[in-house]
């Protein structure tokens, strides 16, 4: 019921707000109110979750902080709106949030049909399956007749059905809305299988299983889930700003610039680093922010690798395809030049 009310609230925003569509100057509004309103997950370890001090942490949270660092030279000027899978798009469309950074898969339906612009990809993921080792299942092909726990409102449900349909395998979904409850159901044995993005499986196994060694993640990865932040259609300037905040983090890793060494590197004769620190070039002006915007991001938030190291490595997630392109991964950002 509460969920419905919240949903209706978001709906009401679309119905009543007179200006959502022509929110041309998002950056201006954000500067005026003094903080970036960032839509994040209600709690996904490594991506966005409040720590024991109530401080939001995760690689999605770091994107929000990067935008704040670029705009305000202060990464703390962010307010978070925890959103479930259903609320997230309406919240962005209606102008309730400025950036949606909530492990959201970039798909054509969302990009073209929901009025969103994805700024890039901050995590290459794919959907997988977790089973209890007791069952002695080695491959998804052995899952005929299994009961599968899944959260609604995501591409996960569709991928699941597509995959089993293509393999002609029968299954029974148990669709539970809250992450907390769906994990309870899986760990209580209500389902044989839990499916979500592999990063989510690892996070759940690390943070929720009574004994992590009892659960195996099957080798099959059944989908591409390029997760990235999104902004709404109609404000190219804001789109650019959020996009380059993310790119700056990835480029910094490639250049070997980190929060630890950027102060020493600032005086570097290397012209690439010079551009990054804002000593040369007009990129800040082009984006409508301070010329030291990229320096501020790296100084306060860190580069992409640092963010990954800090948030995901402790959970047992490996860099994998999320390594930089010149290290055999897929992370590739256009150059700051």
């Amino acid at each position: 019921m509460l969920r419905t009310i919240r949903g209706l609230g978001a709906l009401a925003l679309v119905v009543f707000s007179a200006t959502t569509a022509r929110a041309q100057a998002t950056a201006g509004t954000v500067v005026k109110k003094g903080f970036v309103q960032c839509g994040v997950n209600t709690g996904l370890a490594g991506f966005s979750q409040p720590d024991s001090q109530g401080e939001w942490r995760g690689i999605d949270v770091d994107v929000c902080r990067a935008v704040a660092a670029a705009l305000f030279a202060d990464a703390r000027k962010v307010r978070y709106t925890p959103l479930n899978a259903q609320q997230r798009f309406t919240a962005l469309q209606s102008g309730e949030i400025d950036v949606l950074s909530r492990n959201t898969s970039w798909t054509i339906a969302r990009d073209a049909g929901l009025g969103l612009n994805f700024v890039g990809i901050n995590y290459y993921d794919g959907q997988g399956f977790m089973v209890t080792k007791k069952r002695n299942v080695k491959s998804a092909a052995q899952l005929n007749g299994a009961t599968v726990c899944v959260q609604p409102g995501t591409t996960t449900e569709l991928n699941l059905a597509d995959y089993f349909r293509s393999k002609n395998i029968k299954f029974k979904p148990v669709v539970i809305e809250k992450l907390e409850e769906v994990l309870n159901a899986y760990f209580a044995g209500r389902c044989d299988v839990y499916t979500t993005d592999v990063s989510g499986l690892i996070a759940a196994r690390a943070s929720r299983a009574a004994n992590a060694a009892d659960h195996a993640i099957l080798p099959e990865v059944i989908s591409k889930e390029p997760l990235g932040p999104a902004v709404r259609h109609g404000d190219d300037h804001w789109f650019d700003l959020v996009k380059w905040s993310l790119f700056a983090m990835i480029d910094a890793e490639e250049l070997g610039l980190s929060s630890k060494n950027i102060d020493q590197q600032e005086k570097s004769p290397n012209p690439v680093v010079q551009r990054f620190a804002g000593a040369s070039g007009e990129f800040g002006k082009m984006l409508g922010v301070d010329k030291r915007w990229a320096y501020n991001i790296i100084r306060q938030v860190g580069n992409y690798g640092e963010s990954f190291e800090r948030n995901l490595i402790p959970l047992g997630v490996t860099r994998g395809v999320n390594r930089l392109w010149n290290q055999g991964g897929l992370m590739y950002a256009p150059p700051l030049r």
């Binding site: 019921m1 969920r3 419905t4 949903g7 209706l8 978001a10 709906l11 679309v14 119905v15 009543f16 707000s17 007179a18 959502t20 569509a21 022509r22 899978a85 259903q86 798009f89 309406t90 469309q93 339906a109 969302r110 073209a112 049909g113 929901l114 009025g115 069952r135 899952l143 005929n144 007749g145 299994a146 009961t147 609604p152 409102g153 995501t154 449900e157 569709l158 699941l160 059905a161 597509d162 089993f164 349909r165 299954f171 029974k172 979904p173 148990v174 669709v175 539970i176 809305e177 409850e181 769906v182 309870n184 159901a185 209580a188 044995g189 209500r190 044989d192 709404r232 259609h233 109609g234």
Partner: protein, 340 residues
């Protein structure tokens, strides 16, 4: 004299006409404002969505849904069916659980209500405790409770309990034999294979938890309605019955019950309506009711306004149908002249 009173009547009539005209005028104005306001909001939403590049309309209903549904009522459904069919499956699941919950809660409510009126001290207090506990704990908490009881306390299907031959209880719910033919008498028994039971019939933990939670919750309110109905029949009625030489049972059956039931029907309508609407809490424990399916649909298509309109229209229709039926029933059984 006659003339005077005629004129007075005429004046009265004129003023009455004036009041009536102004009333019509005010109502018409209010209605016009309402229409204009709704028009403004609808147009505004449409304009905003269009500017955002969100395509509207109900065209998505005929597209392939692409997601599976865990359990269905009557219809068979697969991921290759349309959103439209998926929503109908959700609606039928809602109707199944709501109808059964109304039935069970009425039976349980009548029992508890009369238990609470009983002169047996223990029975009366147990019934009172039931009502107070159940009524004062939020329904969604009770649903989580029953769901946890079923999934956490029952064993895995491989070691399921079998209290009666052919009936299996596990954390996947209850599997039981079903009749496939009467002559020759033949039952299909569930068999354990691979992950779960196949064949026979089954009740899922989600459905069972929802039905149980909803029935017990609504029963507590219905019990109070029954009690109130019986207590509101005037004492003189039973005294009159005794003085006619009727036994206690006869007085209850022929004097009190018929009068009490008439008082019980109208408030029951709101309980039935609540019961149906509360069934939308299904989404919390994973039963694929209308709201759950509509949520998935909204999310996949992004048609939030259309989706909510469908949900609202369906619940409104169900609710109006229930009240329509209950009003008809009430008119039929109310005392002549007492029906309002």
């Amino acid at each position: 004299m006659l003339l005077q009173s005629g004129r007075a009547a005429k004046n009265k009539l004129a003023s009455l006409n004036r009041t009536r005209t102004s009333a019509i005028l005010v109502q018409g104005l209010a209605a016009a404002l309402l229409v204009l306001a709704s028009w403004y909001f609808v147009a505004n939403a449409a304009r905003n969505l269009l500017a955002l590049g969100v395509s509207g309309g109900f065209g998505f209903l005929t597209r392939e849904a692409g997601f599976e549904i865990g359990e269905t009522t009557l219809l068979s459904y697969s991921a290759a069916d349309t959103y439209w069919k998926a929503l109908v499956v959700g609606l039928l699941n809602t109707l199944r659980v709501a109808a059964l919950a109304m039935l069970f809660s009425t039976l349980a409510g009548a029992l508890v209500g009369s238990a609470r009126l009983s002169r047996n001290w223990l029975l009366g207090h147990v019934a009172a405790l039931y009502v107070e506990v159940i009524r004062n704990v939020p329904l969604v908490v009770q649903l989580f409770f029953w769901y946890a009881v079923i999934t956490e306390s029952l064993p895995a299907p491989a070691n399921s309990l079998s209290p009666i031959q052919g009936v299996f209880l596990s954390n996947r719910g209850m599997a039981f034999p079903v009749l496939v033919s009467l002559l020759p008498f033949e039952l299909e028994y569930p068999r354990f294979s691979g992950f779960n039971f196949a064949g026979g019939g089954s009740l899922s933990p989600e459905f069972t938890a929802l039905l149980l939670g909803l029935s017990l919750y609504t029963a507590a309110f219905i019990a109070e309605i029954f009690r109130a109905g019986f207590l509101s029949v005037d004492r003189g009625q039973s005294e009159a019955g005794y003085s006619l030489g009727l036994s206690q049972r006869q007085v209850k059956r022929f004097i009190i019950a018929p009068q009490a039931l008439r008082l019980i029907v109208p408030p029951m309508t709101s309980q039935f309506l609540n019961c149906t609407k509360n069934s939308s809490l299904a989404v919390a424990i994973g039963f694929p009711d209308l709201v759950s399916i509509a949520n998935t649909t909204i999310n996949q298509t992004g048609q939030a306004i259309e989706g909510f309109l469908i949900i609202m229209a369906v619940y409104l229709t169900i609710s109006l149908a229930i009240s329509g039926f209950m009003n008809w029933y009430n008119r039929r059984f109310a005392l002549r002249g007492a029906a309002a």
